[in-house]
Symmetry: C2
Subunit: 311 residues, 2 copies
């Protein structure tokens, strides 16, 4: 691998390299190299896709190929985490601009492979084409449901507690490239505590909370003092002049899990001696008419703000 | 729907419209609107993805939104046809450039939906983002294997006949947008005649034949007089000054099925009274050292030419 090589890369050679990387894997009857992969989930499968675009999801001047590849896969694994399921197979589609160095392309793919394998998901197929514009990576993840129940967005009920993993806000300062998808956390929550609803925070706490509430036909009252505001949110706030809490509520790409549990089960989770990650109770599910946050003893309306792509 | 509207389209509103289009469907436990779709295939599933890029796979100045959408899905269904399987579920990822009229976007999605439903495949999820460049559509298709065996590329053996559906060449004159994915043909072939190997002709007969032969570690001798040269190949040849046969051998995007069968089973297929589509025997599988075509009684070497994306 010569990092200075800028000769064109042929799709056929690139595919051969890809195939050589991938040994047989569990449940993969047919892997890369045929018209489709054939996968044996021994039951229902969950499937999700996430598309990453150069210049939208990352700044190409400041992002390493390995970071791009890892982000593309980790965003996708986060969807499976939000279902409380095990990701097992990945399909990768890439639209590749001309002139990308072969070494960069391979670093990117190796990072995708590593990001998947870190959480038990292997590459089983995909498609590569030339792009006339930015690099576009679309990853499809498939996960067997197995003996679990997928955790949907629809099950939150008035009275449930609202909880979140980790800390929020300011991910643009670095976490958006370096985050860990909460696959293990999602599986732990699903296996041991059965959240009534769950979603990953990809477009901002408020916006993703609204999605969960819309799906559950419910409302919420958040406790402004309880929101786990990250150091990054504070640092970013020092630059933007906004309140760190606003960053925690509306910044995207934290990829933490936002979920709901009836009060007694929320207490059981918070008291679980095996709980291996930070979880914070940040509010309560209400009837659908209310969407508010308590700040300094006063109820302020929530607007559901966050990152809404506008085409 | 106002075709003149050029106001920005919000992702959230677009998703709501999408959800409203899609009724519950067989095997879809969870459809659009959660972190992942949950699908029940009652057994193994085949999965493939295909990415379509504006300016690479179609000329935006000459292509209607409905044609773009249909092509994106039909290419993808063709992969499932090449496995001899029933496509059932589609995931759609779209990177959408700013300023695309809402009516065009909706026409495109409705065409994707219709293209899928024509062959029994429903939209169950996806992702939409803003693009900084061309429109990119990536479609993932999933199909239950059911009681069938997937037809792989790997099973061609010396002595097998090589057959192809339909006619080849010159698809750029129109068929590349208007082709019918050979889903019914693929299922018919798999159910009744069990091809030893099969692939769809997406990048040209020679190149896709080479892929099948590489996978099967075999060679081939084609009969130049037998290749079903399309009218479009002849019309294109009149413009390019090349031999129509060259267009039939190397033009991409015909999306016909290329497959192999032992001689007696090839005869049985050609004599099958229920055969409802044109099939032509075009040559024979040989040992791996030979890749040639008989033209005017002379063996010419095949080079495996076709459309190889160069990045």
């Amino acid at each position: 691998m010569n990092p200075k090589r800028r000769e064109p890369i042929r799709e056929s050679e690139f595919h051969e390299w890809l195939r050589s990387l991938l040994p047989p894997a569990e449940g993969v009857t047919v892997g890369i190299g045929d018209d489709a992969a054939v996968l044996d989930a021994s039951g229902p499968v969950a499937a999700a896709c996430d598309i990453l675009v150069e210049g939208v999801h990352y700044d190409p001047r400041e992002t390493l190929p390995a970071q791009i590849g890892a982000k593309a896969v980790n965003r996708n694994l986060s969807d499976m985490a939000a279902m409380g399921l095990q990701p097992r197979w990945l399909l990768l589609s890439a639209a590749i601009p001309p002139g990308i160095p072969e070494a960069s392309l391979k670093e990117m793919v190796l990072a995708m492979k590593a990001a998947g394998e870190r959480f038990g998901a292997v590459l089983v197929g995909g498609d590569t084409v030339r792009s006339t514009g930015p690099l576009v990576l679309d990853v499809t993840v498939l996960g067997p449901v197995g003996e679990l129940e997928p955790v949907l967005r629809t099950g939150a009920a008035p009275g449930d507690r609202i909880l979140v993993t980790g800390e929020l806000g300011g991910s643009i300062l670095g976490k958006h490239l370096l985050f860990t998808p909460r696959v293990k956390e999602g599986l732990f929550l699903n296996r041991r505590h059965c959240p009534s609803a769950m979603i990953d925070v990809s477009d901002g706490l408020e916006m993703d909370l609204f999605r969960l509430l819309d799906a559950s036909r419910a409302g919420a009252l958040l406790d402004g003092d309880a929101i786990p505001v990250s150091d990054a949110a504070r640092r970013l706030a020092a630059r933007t002049g906004r309140d760190p809490l606003v960053h925690a509520l509306t910044d995207g790409e934290d990829f933490e899990l936002l979920f709901t549990l009836p009060p007694e089960r929320a207490d059981a989770l918070l008291d679980d001696p095996d709980l291996f990650f930070p979880v914070t109770a940040i509010g309560m599910v209400t009837t659908a008419d209310k969407r508010a946050i308590m700040i300094n003893g006063k109820e302020e309306p929530l607007k559901g703000e966050g990152f809404d792509h506008i085409f």
